[in-house]
């Protein structure tokens, strides 16, 4: 009887990171497009918009890293049957 627990763990980790990356990419893409539009409408607000853009990008990445954390836990802490 083959033990699939490690295989499923790696598969789950891979799919989880894929989903997190897609969500994070879409989120930061929308953020960047809003920032570009804001700067193009009012070029003298570049300083404020730049600061807020970097800040909110880091917070959206934080959400993606929550799921990376779960996937790293899946990879390194899965026990096989009998261990």
């Amino acid at each position: 009887m083959i033990d699939f627990s490690l295989a499923f763990a790696y598969l789950g980790a891979g799919i989880g990171v894929a989903g997190a990356t897609i969500g994070c990419g879409i989120g930061i893409g929308k953020l960047a497009s809003g920032a570009m539009e804001g700067v193009s409408r009012q070029p003298e607000a570049v300083g404020d918009i730049r600061g807020m853009m970097i800040l909110t990008a880091a917070m959206i990445e934080g959400v993606a890293l929550f799921s990376v954390l779960v996937c790293v836990l899946l990879i390194f802490a899965t026990k096989t049957i009998g261990s």
Partner: protein, 269 residues
Amino acid sequence: MFLYNFLSLALFDPEQTGHKEEGAGFILEHVQDYVIFEIPPILGIDISITFHVVMMWIASIFLILLFSLSKRQMGMVPRGMGNLLEAIVLFIKTDILDPYLGKDGMRFAPYLLTAFFFVLVCNLLGLIPGAGTATSNLAVTGSLAVLTFFIGQSAGIRKKGFGKYMKSFLPPGVPGFVAPLVFFIEFIGVFTKHFALAIRLFANMMADHLIVFTFLGLIIIFKSFLVALLAVPGAVALELLAVLIALIQAYIFTMLSAVFIGIALSEEH
């Protein structure tokens, strides 16, 4: 700079790690904490000195020396290192304390400034090869988040009184039948927000270092030096990104701490 990382990974024989079932386990062991000096448990609590504890001590001693030696240069017109530190402290005051904490904000300046400089120095110390990041340990970031929680909520309870503090979880204009649910969600939300504060800093720091070690560990896993042509530039780029992320995460931690304290103190509801 990466020769040390490369050598420390290369001298690590994957088959001797024992409890890991394949060769990639040695990557995680470079990011985790390990005991340096064993102390027998006191009252059931294990207080052995670990690597991250030593890194926190180094960061604290560095900060104490930095600020006390720059104090001589303060005065009417600061110069030198005092000038730089005053610029950073003023930046935090105008960007974090004034918008979110209002006129009462200087009360929390000691804690927030300490948190900012401690997280910043801990993050940046981890980028030196051979040293570790204290903030890549969930215990350290969890303790900082617990401090923010206690400081913020106790200030809110003291200012508003316990009854009004509990009532602030219920926004006005909520229909009667969902009021308990909204209250419950807002109450749990306080704990969730502080927990996310800890996890955000921990995951960012751990992921940065883990991915640099993974890139260099690929050379070991593939057992060929040709991978180094791709892996080392990638690791350099990611290390530079880690510098940026260290600065940003220190700023975000302090800003969100100020926001949560401000929410606990606010009287809009």
